[in-house]
């Protein structure tokens, strides 16, 4: 925007990069210095491991296959959670009777971490795909419902009055006032839900799976291959971040009024 950035600005822009670089250098020295024996691979070893896994299968499939296996579970669970959870939360926020019926049930289940469902899920659904998807579903479902619910409940009454005074009927009040005003809260819930989903899939895969990023990490442990573990961890972080960024773009597109003040 401005023609010339001052040296201070340039410096502060490169600050994050510098600190990252520093971490990698320290890591490299720590690894090659041998203070951790073989349990800490060097950054270079991790990169090599990563490149290897791109083409060479670990277990049933290559790295891309494992990522896709985890993603597939997350996306399936997330889609189902959104399709059921958001309408349910909207209903609960808008309709006092629905609130009275559904809310107490939620108050019981909400504080239970999704991972606590793993044993039951395995007993109920075996060890195939279903229990993993189920755990992820729980992870995304609760924030989807709760945020849609609170979003509707916190609709500014004045805005409802404003629309009502202009002649809006109940259906229009819901669709044209309550839902748009709840959208930012709903998106915050989706962000939360998706990152919870991603955590849940790893936990579920570490309990027992034949593919997936969680499986990779566990396999790395079994094979005493810390480079594989660290690669898995970095992949988890990177995919999680990408998912969050993707959802933020969707939010900006759906809620353009939330964009920072510009023009």
């Amino acid at each position: 925007m401005n023609a010339k950035a001052s040296p201070a600005e340039i410096f502060s822009r490169f600050l994050p990069l510098t600190s990252l670089l520093l971490i990698i250098i320290v890591w490299q020295f720590a690894a090659t210095g041998g203070y951790f024996g073989k349990s800490l691979p060097s950054p270079v070893a991790v990169v090599n491991q990563f490149v290897d896994m791109l083409a060479e299968p670990v277990g049933k499939t290559i790295l891309g296959g494992h990522i896709w296996a985890s993603m597939r579970r997350v996306l399936t669970a997330f889609a189902v959670a959104v399709l059921i959870g958001i309408p349910m939360g909207l209903l609960m926020g808008w309709n006092k009777k629905a609130e009275a019926i559904i809310k107490p049930i939620f108050e019981i289940f909400r504080p239970i971490p999704p991972i606590a469902w793993i044993p039951l899920a395995i007993l109920w659904f075996g060890i195939e795909e279903t229990p993993k998807v189920f755990i992820c579903f729980i992870g995304a479902f609760i924030p989807a419902v709760m945020n849609a619910y609170t979003g509707i409940r916190f609709t500014d009454p004045l805005l409802l009055d404003a629309a009502r005074s202009q002649g809006a009927n109940l259906r229009q009040l819901f669709k044209e006032v309550a839902v748009p005003s709840a959208l930012p809260a709903i998106f915050a819930g989706l962000q939360n839900g998706l990152s919870l989903c991603w955590m849940c899939v790893l936990a579920a895969e570490m309990v027992g799976a034949e593919e997936g990023v969680g499986y990779l990490i566990l396999r790395g442990m079994d094979m005493s291959n810390p480079a594989m573990i660290i690669t898995g961890m970095l992949i988890i972080g990177a995919v999680g971040a990408l998912i969050a960024v993707g959802l933020r773009y969707v939010e900006r597109w759906v809620c353009p009024w939330k964009r920072e003040i510009s023009m």
Binding site: L158, L159, D161, A162, A163, R164, S165, Q166, G167, A168, N169, Q172, E176, V177, P180, S181, L183, C255, P256, W257, I261, M263
Partner: protein, 250 residues
């Protein structure tokens, strides 16, 4: 019952409003006549906003009745515009969409909507901001959107709750003249709530002075001055002082 041969537009009968134990409106009765410009002045917190909310059926009355054209008030049926005291634009709609909203709800034809949009945006000086979102506007511009939205509906009943208190003096004078112009041209009924005594005397045909909470009508003052009114006119000053005295009195 008529007033200078005018029909009754709004009939308020023994209106009482309580919030729990808090009595806000205490057995108020009065009429507003067709095409009248009525100002309501009263101390802060006396129940002016509550009165308008009850009048438009946004809140239920505890006791008493309100009739518009002889029927119970109904925003879906009566063509009412309400300029709220607090910011009330929809944050997710642009300036233009905010103004369109009521017109679309009322199923005004698209061509007519376009015409009125241009008219009112010109009127309040928002033409260049039609694609802005409310949070990109200043408080006074935001209130102009609400005013534009109210005028665009072409209401037979225009309710304004301290609409100009956020605006600077120049814009306020301008919009005071505008609301008078619109009122005379379109022959609408206007109820205008204000704190500003001078504003009330400048605008009103009749002023209702309310008591502190619980509100009842303390006094009714007719303002029979030619328009445009002159703040320095001795008659004007006289009425203004009269109203001020009434307000000092409690």
């Amino acid at each position: 019952m008529t007033n200078n041969g005018r029909k009754i537009k709004i009939q308020v009968q023994n209106l009482t409003k309580r919030f729990g134990d808090l009595l806000v409106l205490n057995n108020i009765s009065f009429n507003v006549y067709e095409g009248e410009f009525l100002c309501i002045v009263g101390p802060t917190g006396c129940g002016k906003t509550t009165f308008l909310n009850v009048l438009t059926k946004l809140h239920p009355a505890t006791e008493g009745d309100i009739y518009i054209d002889g029927e119970p008030a109904n925003p879906q049926k009566h063509n009412i515009s309400f300029v709220f005291q607090e910011p009330s634009t929809m944050p997710w709609l642009t300036v233009e969409q905010n103004i369109r909203y009521g017109l679309e709800v009322k199923k005004v034809p698209e061509e007519e909507i376009k015409k009125r949009l241009n008219q009112v945006m010109e009127l309040v000086g928002l033409k260049d901001f039609r694609n802005y979102y409310p949070r990109q506007l200043s408080a006074s511009m935001d209130q102009r959107v609400v005013i534009a939205r109210a005028f665009a509906i072409n209401p037979d009943l225009l309710l304004m709750d301290e609409p100009y208190s956020q605006l600077d003096i120049k814009l306020r004078y301008y919009l005071e003249d505008e609301v008078i112009r619109i009122w005379r041209e379109m022959k609408r009924t206007v109820i205008f709530v204000t704190h500003n005594i001078e504003e009330a005397v400048y605008l009103a045909e009749r002023i209702l002075i309310l008591t502190p909470k619980p509100a009842t009508i303390k006094k009714e003052i007719k303002v029979d001055l030619p328009r445009p009114r002159n703040f320095a006119d001795p008659e004007f000053v006289n009425i203004r002082n009269q109203v001020t005295e009434m307000i000092k009195w409690w």
